[in-house]
């Protein structure tokens, strides 16, 4: 039993990585007042590019880097369209999600001749601790979450970012270039979304499939609310929902009843929905979240 629990806890270190990266990125984006519903699409596009790069070069690390780059560019686009052009942030995000799905399929089709999945790809070597395997990306994700927490709570930059999302007019009065900062924050957070997608491909799953993200981008959005826009709590909530996924996976293996696997698959989504229903009411979103900031 204890062995089982430990193994669950260890599997969760792997399944929680994309949730940590995506939700930490989104906490920071939303703190700046921009909502990104398109995380799922960011992850998919970054994932497919990471897959191609990994496939072509044989280097999962280069794949990861490429995924980060894709995320940055997408973030720049979403950020600029939202902050500067005052686009409808939610519709934009839906568009990116649908678009990314199509591009993913197109690339799969073109490179691997299979619209569903890629060939297996070289992956980042795991870390072995006492017989259990985890990923170095877990440590990286924790480091990123802590760094984000430090920036958001301890630095002037963090205050300026939060001021954009709370009260852009006050921020502007204090000389913060609100639109530019919002764009840059969305772009940098895009890197994290990109890393999350690339990680799925070059580490966790080891191949690209057309629905590899499986709603993780949206679970990340739920985590943001659960964390009450706090990066450390987002880290914790991500790990717990990663644990839900790990539990589903393990139960499938243990019960050995493949018939139940689909029911178990619903576990993370139910967990997220129930959690947000119970705790979401107390959460306090940044006051200007998703509202276009229009100067006088």
């Amino acid at each position: 039993m204890i062995g089982l629990i430990i193994s669950l806890l260890v599997v969760a270190t792997r399944s929680s990585v994309p949730l940590i990266l995506a939700s930490v990125g989104e906490v920071v984006t939303e703190k700046a007042g921009i909502v990104n519903i398109g995380i799922e699409g960011f992850m998919l596009l970054a994932g497919v590019v990471a897959a191609v790069v990994d496939y072509a070069t044989g280097s999962p690390l280069l794949g990861l880097l490429a995924g980060a780059g894709v995320g940055f560019i997408l973030g720049l686009i979403h950020g600029a369209a939202s902050a500067k052009l005052k686009a409808n942030q939610i519709v934009l995000g839906i568009g990116i999600n649908i678009l990314a799905f199509g591009i993913g399929v197109a690339v799969l089709n073109h490179v691997w001749g299979n619209p569903g999945q890629s060939a297996p790809l070289p992956t980042i070597p795991p870390i072995r601790i006492d017989g259990y395997f985890t990923t170095p990306m877990f440590l990286a994700a924790i480091a990123i979450a802590l760094a984000a927490h430090y920036i958001m709570t301890r630095t002037t930059l963090g205050l300026e970012i939060s001021a954009c999302g709370e009260d852009p007019h006050s921020a502007e009065a204090l000389g913060v270039k609100v639109e530019t900062l919002q764009t840059l924050v969305t772009a940098v957070a895009g890197i994290l979304h990109g890393l999350a997608g690339a990680y799925l491909v070059v580490d966790y799953i080891g191949q690209f499939t057309r629905d590899i993200t499986a709603g993780r981008g949206f679970i990340a959005l739920a985590i943001v609310v659960l964390s009450n826009w706090n990066t450390i709590l987002a880290l914790a909530a991500s790990y717990l929902l990663g644990l839900a996924e790990a539990t589903a996976l393990n139960l499938q293996a243990i019960l050995g009843v493949p018939a139940l696997s689909d029911l178990l698959n619903t576990l993370p989504y139910i967990a997220a929905l129930v959690a947000i229903t119970i705790y979401g009411v107390k959460a306090r979103a940044p006051a200007w979240l998703g509202r276009p900031y229009i100067k006088e």
Binding site: L92, F101, G102, V105, A259, D262, L273, I276
Partner: protein
């Protein structure tokens, strides 16, 4: 609301951008875009029956997005509502193979899912985008679980037992009956939105929440009912697929998969207008029909067409060219007026 011409121009810009994106995608993938578009066009003519079959669920998922949008809500759950609608219709057909009953129960199932998201939003502050996506995935796996474990066809294990013939809807004059149902749904939707008090309440909630509640409108009820109604249409979309198109489900739910998201594209293209939705849906389903030809002729998977839908949605999310230019135009006009005033 904007004038019609402005909306039409916006939609045309969206379409043009989407076509350009497709052309770009084709050439990047090493296909000749001209050839690809020729095949697409050919496919629309050849597979017009597919087009007619696809248009019905697409119209309905468009309505699923459009109705809550009038109340200011984003129902991204058309997909999940269609899954449960399809399953419910299928299940009922085994017991009581009556198409009307099947459609009603399918609609009800989708409606419940929409209602749940509406209540969560109004009473618990759960954003509908998050809740509907979670419900999409829960619905997907649950429906697949039931399909695989309870409804499997012993002879064709990849599909369910078919709908018994008395439960099926066929064609009238070469047009699937479900198309008429979908068009009737659009008219019903129009009537609800523009002729009935509920629709007035829903539209005022989306157009000006703060004003509407100060005018004595029960905005919370309007929001919840709009989600319920959207869910009903989403559920109906799934039901018409099973009762009027495929007569079964496959274990990957591939006949339903994606129809909810395509519906968002069709809805935005029509600016959520229920009377314009049949046309935008026809356009996107024509694309699907053409896509099959593309798949056969060039080996390009049909889901690549999501690029088209995605770009349409993205572009329509951007402010229109006119809106971007408006402040500049105004400044210009003001400056002119001031100059004239100064001169006089």
């Amino acid at each position: 609301m904007k004038p019609v011409v402005e909306k039409l121009i916006g939609s045309l810009i969206g379409l043009a951008a989407a076509l350009a994106a497709m052309a770009l995608a084709f050439s990047l993938l090493g296909y000749n875009p001209a050839e690809a578009f020729r095949l697409l066009g050919e496919g629309i003519v050849e597979n017009y029956d597919i087009m007619l079959l696809r248009v019905a669920p697409l119209i309905l998922t468009s309505l699923a997005f459009a109705v809550p949008a009038f109340a200011g809500l984003f129902n991204i759950g058309g997909e999940g509502q269609a899954y449960v609608g399809a399953l419910a219709a299928l299940a009922v057909s085994y017991i009581a193979p009556n198409p009307v009953l099947c459609l009603l129960v399918g609609a009800l199932a989708g409606g419940l899912l929409g209602y749940l998201a509406g209540v969560l939003r109004v009473k618990r502050g759960v954003h509908e985008v998050v809740s509907t996506i979670m419900l999409n995935w829960i619905a997907f796996y649950t429906v697949r679980y039931i399909v695989v474990n309870y409804f499997k066809n012993p002879y064709y294990p990849d599909t369910t037992n078919p709908v018994p013939p008395p439960g099926r809807l066929g064609q009238v004059a070469g047009v699937p009956v479900v198309v008429f149902i979908a068009i009737a749904a659009c008219i019903l939707c129009y009537l609800v939105l523009y002729r009935m008090p509920l629709g007035l309440a829903i539209r005022s909630t989306g157009a000006g929440y703060e004003a509407a509640r100060r005018l004595g409108i029960d905005v919370e009820k309007a929001m919840i009912l709009s989600m319920l109604l959207g869910g009903v249409f989403g559920g109906l979309a799934g039901a018409v697929i099973v009762i009027g198109e495929t007569y079964n489900l496959d274990v990957a739910l591939s006949s339903v998969y994606g129809v909810g998201f395509d519906g968002i594209g069709a809805a935005l293209l029509a600016w959520n207008n229920p009377l314009a939705i049949p046309f935008s849906s026809l356009l996107l389903s024509a694309l699907v029909a053409g896509g099959y030809q593309l798949q056969i002729g060039m080996g390009i998977d049909i889901h690549v067409l999501s690029i088209f839908t995605g770009v349409v949605v993205f572009v329509l999310g951007l402010p229109s060219l006119y809106e971007l230019l408006k402040p500049k135009l105004q400044a210009l006009r003001l400056a002119k007026a001031r100059r004239r005033g100064g001169g006089a």
